[in-house]
Symmetry: C2
Subunit: 167 residues, 2 copies
DNA sequence: AACCAATATGTTATACTATAATATTAAAAT
DNA sequence: ATTTTAATATTATAGTATAACATATTGGTT
């Protein structure tokens, strides 16, 4: 599918992770950037988590020769991964998400489920036009956008409906 | 003007603050909510600041019988002010901004100047449609939106151009 | 191979942001 | 007046992010 939305609850995480890592490998190669052990580990955790993870959450999961890394170590990896578009920061969660469609740098909006925390990253071409127009009219020089919608994903909407019927 | 964008550097702050406070007064009245001293002070600081202020920045400015308030005090006031639409949280700044057009609850986007930190709050009706459509297609139940653009305001763009010419 | 420059990491310390929990006070409703 | 509700005051702690500096690794150059 060209426009994936929310991931299925059950799906082949292994494959996701593998594909994501492979793409990252290639992306670094083509930019002559180093895909170091740290960067690998952080990206892998994000790919496996499949939802936005905070830095301290990542630190807990990070098994690094028996010790735990310092925040700076994670932040540095994230900064790098974000700079080449492999990871996004979700502002309204203070957390980071592996990009589900790396390589395409379109205008995307994140649909964040407030209940189960899963996120759909969907293209929002219609919004791109609106934003550039607004910027143009105002004389604003656009650098980047933060587009996030908050609410309930389809599965949680369904669950909520069921709960109500029960009570 | 019906669609204000960036405030002029020089303008009558006094009048802004006064108008904002008057509106808040009325808004609380009509909802049977109390516009207490705390809430007043916090809103006043935000109106006067005229840009996003962090909670600890607010605390520093908060003169409260010679002592300084605890964070919780500010957060409570903000929570209230936000709940009735007098204040917005700017996620990408971890800071709060007094609403410049209270009473209208349209879909707005914030244009945040990364240099001077001023913010334009502009209506983005075109985006509302795009978002609800996206939500509809995905089965997402939309609760709220975070729409922020980051870049340079017209004044800072101008200044940057001048600087370059100088060098 | 030895050296240099550039990049990335390790480490410690600290700053900034946000909430929990509980006691107290003030206001509104009966 | 009494009860109930909403708001405040206070202390403590949790969560997020960066600064500063020392060390190590990599890649390119002679």
């Amino acid at each position: 599918m060209d426009q994936p939305s929310f991931p299925q609850r059950q799906h082949d995480h292994e494959a996701c992770v593998h594909a994501g890592m492979a793409h990252a490998e290639a992306a670094c190669e083509s930019r002559n950037e180093r895909f170091t052990a740290n960067r690998r580990s952080v990206l892998k955790l994000l790919l496996a988590g499949h939802r936005p993870l905070g830095v301290y959450e990542l630190m807990k999961q990070f098994d690094w020769k028996g010790r735990k890394p310092a925040p700076a170590q994670i932040y540095r990896a994230l900064e790098f991964l974000e700079s080449i578009g492999l990871v996004h920061r979700i502002e309204s969660c203070n957390a980071y998400l592996a990009c589900n469609r790396p390589g395409r740098h379109h205008c995307t909006i994140f649909l964040v489920c407030e209940q189960c925390k899963t996120v759909a990253e969907v293209e929002a071409e219609r919004m791109q036009g609106a934003i550039t127009d607004l910027a143009g009219q105002t004389g604003f020089e656009l650098h980047s956008q933060v587009l996030e919608a908050r609410g309930l994903c389809p599965e949680c909407v369904g669950a909520a409906a069921t709960d109500e019927a029960d009570s």
